[in-house]
Subunit: 133 residues, 3 copies
């Protein structure tokens, strides 16, 4: 399993992982299959969405914060229940198709690490499953 480290710089932000994922695919000689991008943290997640216009990232983060605000009727004492809930909403992992040694994303897609309780040192774990023709 490949572990990539990253450092987030705000409480809530998206970090575009696409370039580093492509590098890992190339480096490991992965050809045709599906790349698992796994978040081992419970106050963060991974999502695939538009990479071209940063205002999309902003709108997703702002909407999640409106639906699940930082302060609310929570019992978890650490003050980051919003981040736990948002983690389960976007999910702890995503799978990206790989074709002929390259990430096969849709035209506008990028893969984002979703930080909901930073800034922190984080990591994502990568695995590759071969697909059968």
């Amino acid at each position: 399993m490949i572990r990539l480290g990253l450092r987030t710089t705000a409480r809530r932000e998206f970090v575009d992982l696409t370039g580093r994922l492509q590098d890992a695919v190339r480096q490991h000689g992965w050809r045709d299959g599906v790349l698992h991008v796994y978040c081992p943290h419970t106050t963060a997640g991974v999502t695939i969405n538009e990479g071209a216009d940063p205002s999309v990232q902003r709108d997703i983060l702002a909407t999640l914060a409106r639906l699940v605000p930082h302060r609310g009727d929570y019992q978890h004492a650490e003050g980051n229940s919003d981040a736990h809930v948002q983690s389960s909403l976007v999910g702890a992992g995503a799978w990206v198709p790989v074709e002929d040694g390259a990430l096969a994303l849709g035209t506008w897609q990028a893969v984002f690490f979703c930080e909901f309780d930073g800034p922190r040192s984080r990591s994502v774990w990568l695995q590759f499953a071969v697909s059968q023709p």
Copy 2:
């Protein structure tokens, strides 16, 4: 990777993919593993839910629209931020168990393409990962 095309006919709708997925599994001779159903679009998604009563699809779509309305405090200029957010909530892909050459879904389950910003020409990409006994 197999690419299936589809045409959606409304801004927001579910399209049941189950029959076409079953056909693809049979056609490619996939036997025991997991089928990846991937949405390469950033204003759509894939989900697994009840296929028997269409009112379930309606209730899911209506609830997502109530939580993330079409018009709101968004910065993305294209007027479809709701669709981007809903895409990250349901997810860009789903995995369906395949056993002995057939989709292994629960009794009430169907696999849906979730259109959040149609009508458009869309596609889903299929990959099959063999499972180890």
Copy 3:
């Protein structure tokens, strides 16, 4: 495909599957890859989140119930549309990394069956996909 049965005891609750998943991985000799944990039900789901403090589970369940209440403007006649919507929000399945024959979860992570319309007899289906080094 491995089928694990479970019995839920409330309308809405999380059931920690982590120990049983670890047992299944060991029992089947699965070494390095990714474990698919699939929920064949349309009013339940699977999520990965914090296992240490039970108040996190409570906060996730309570927030989902606030966003998608039991009674609302639903058309599905069975009175459990909230459960169907919540199922699509957390997702019908999750994938857990397996390394050297053991679940590779983050420090605080556990894998939960999410019951949204119990109590019921439920099951989760397990498959293992080998990863390529």
